[in-house]
Point group: C2
């Protein structure tokens, strides 16, 4: 008998019929003999509707009140789901984040989990019930105030609960069949990945793949929770995210060189022109940017022009933070002493990810050749041990992704997005 | 500086604009120098919508899950109200029933408050904030499970909090101007009552006056909480429910004989015909009825017919319980040994309430004369020290209420429902 944590997102419980469909699926897993803990998000548009109501009150709602408001959404979906499961003759009880023991810090709107004490969940499961837990929410230890975990919060709740319960697997149900070698909307020949390592999945998520949020993967890696990303609309097996060295039944043994191609259209590039090339200037620039609360991504410094002793520094950042970073830098132009600032939000980022590239030195050459053959100019490059990222023009990004996907033999054999006919549980 | 508990019902916070209007009113009270604690119900139709969703899951939702579902409603209204107040520059924080320390027993759907420990509310108020508390809900002490208080629950929350906080007054905001001498929809000349004793208000509530629920008045009387029933749509003073002996500024000193006329159309009458008039038979009948979970109201036993040694017993009960009581009695017909059962749900009940009637022996004679003059037949009578109730035909009830209202000089001078121009706070 396995202990399974299942997580259903908002699109899986969008309306009464969807909730009943999910309930049936959960009841089947339970009847098959497994212990089941379910983490659920708010129904479809509920969160947006609540945000809209808050905006009608005030343009800047206090974050503590916003968290209380938004957590009403999971309260509704979790109790309805428990009712639907009960009506199928399977005992089910719902629990708030607080009742499930999800303890967080007190940063409302994007709280971090600091502990999970799932005593009541264990009790419910041992008593034979399906435990339904509200995703996305927790409670502060000191004041018992309600918090929300921010984007991807429900996935993180599921993985954190799975870790605390010592679950055999954390199944993340979504509206796609798993993690693909590229976004199938851009690359119709993208293949579903059967198995991917935590490290690769981390790089995929950090590079723009949206199927799993970065923090959820970080959590899963830290606690070695096997994550199964799969569709709530089919019985197919999806993608297993797990330790690269672990033997998993049915998963391929050989490690491919490349796991997939991710892309990101949400970044912008700032180039600081004519910076005095003396020690401490770069540090000062990034101090100023960090002080405005902005997270940088790629950073490139050109070799300085010997005759002038000045250089250019470029970096990418979320386009949403562009105004804040630009304002902070302009304010400090006198003391940094740079010439001018260029802001460009028409860039795209392509990332090639694969644990196998560590031992294959030809990967970057093949990547650059593929882009060159497709007539695509590379503006910036950054690498990690298992990732190469390049910045291109935004309007060339789709073509770049397709070219690289083909160059690394990731296209499916029949030229169609493959939805693997899994074992069907 | 006074400490005021204000309670706003669902119709007062039905939509975004209503919430903003209420927020303005609360901010004014706070700016006038008072400490303000607010109890709020769910927005307008929210509860009905949630019940409808639950019904789509299963016809008989588990009561624990139903309570979790329904409490989402107050979570939404309370956080929105706190946001609206904050946007007016007044600090406001919302609290769930649990955070406010509303401890209940574990009878889901109609839990009773067993303790209120409002430490966090006191802290918020002392810190200068308006505390917004979710009405209608509490939490069990042992398991931290969410409970709801059932009908009139938010009023009870407000009075219980006022008692625990030692508030100067509990203001119940509603969509009418206060408690009237009769229902103004039936008696257009009904007058608003400026002041009424707990005892009288209890009898009014028990006799069908809907403006305050019985349990809320019981709680107020037990803890001597002055309750001010008033309109959220005007600044008029409403009705002060308080101790009869207490001196209250501005309230009339003389105690009128009659406070008002209440009516109730929700009861039915069961007559058990031909009951053996031997000791224990009545007890057995009411044992059987109580065993079916039904609360009786009036009971009348006729003098037995000497020649037969048999008698008739009539009682009234909520019409909603009619089927359960009838079934239980029919099942026990053999061992009780009665002849037959008559069920009648076309009755109405009129109640005349007034603490002054204790010392005025002519009251019942005047009541019966008024009904007789209006051609209305009395089917049952029951009395308490400060109330006389009679059962009539349902279709004669309105006429009966008007006749009695006039006979006891309760009509307003100008023949119109008077909305007193109060002091306006």
């Amino acid at each position: 008998m396995a202990l399974i944590v299942q997580k259903y997102g908002g699109s899986s419980v969008a309306d009464a019929d969807s909730i009943k469909r999910v309930a049936k699926r959960i009841a089947e897993a339970k009847r098959a003999g497994d212990s089941v803990v379910v983490v659920v998000s708010a129904m479809g548009d509920t969160t947006d509707e609540l945000i809209d109501l808050a905006q009608q009150m005030t343009p800047l709602p206090p974050s503590r009140e916003m968290d209380i408001l938004l957590t009403a959404g999971e309260r509704i979906s979790m109790s309805l789901l428990a009712m639907a499961i009960s009506s199928l003759g399977v005992d089910a009880q719902s629990f708030t984040g607080q009742q499930a023991g999800v303890i967080t810090d007190s940063v409302h709107g994007r709280a971090r989990i600091i502990d999970v004490t799932p005593g009541r969940i264990q009790q419910a499961v041992e008593g034979g019930a399906v435990a339904i837990v509200a995703g996305f929410q927790g409670v502060t230890q000191s004041t018992n105030d309600v918090t929300t975990l921010g984007r991807g919060g429900s996935d993180t709740t599921a993985v954190a609960l799975a870790a605390a319960l010592g679950a055999d697997v954390c199944e993340i149900y979504t509206d796609v069949d798993g993690v693909f070698t590229a976004d199938p909307r851009i690359v119709p020949t993208a293949r579903k990945i059967d198995r991917i390592s935590y490290d690769e999945m981390l790089e995929m998520a950090a590079s723009g793949a949206k199927v799993l949020m970065l923090r959820c993967v970080e959590y899963a890696r830290r606690y070695a929770v096997p994550v199964h990303v799969r569709s709530s609309f089919s019985a197919h097996t999806g993608t297993l995210v797990t330790d690269a060295t672990e033997e998993v039944e049915g998963a391929p043994m050989e490690q491919p060189i490349i796991a997939g191609v991710a892309h990101d259209r949400s970044e912008a590039k700032i180039t600081i022109v004519d910076v005095p090339d003396v020690p401490g200037k770069a540090a000062r620039i990034f101090e100023v940017v960090a002080g405005s609360g902005v997270n940088l991504d790629m950073i490139v410094q050109n070799v300085s022009v010997a005759s002038t002793g000045r250089t250019d520094i470029s970096f990418t950042l979320p386009a949403a933070d562009g105004a804040a970073a630009t304002a902070a830098l302009t304010e400090h132009q006198p003391d940094i002493g740079f010439g001018s600032l260029q802001y460009d939000d028409t860039i795209g980022k392509l990332s090639l990810i694969g644990a196998g590239m560590k031992s294959h030195p030809g990967v970057s050459a093949r990547l650059f050749a593929a882009l060159s053959d497709a007539g695509i100019n590379i503006e910036m490059i950054s690498t990690s041990e298992i990732r190469i990222s390049v910045v291109t023009r935004a309007d060339q990004l789709d073509e770049a992704v397709r070219a690289v996907h083909t160059a690394f033999d990731l296209d499916s054999a029949d030229g169609q997005a493959v939805v693997y006919g899994g074992s069907g549980r």
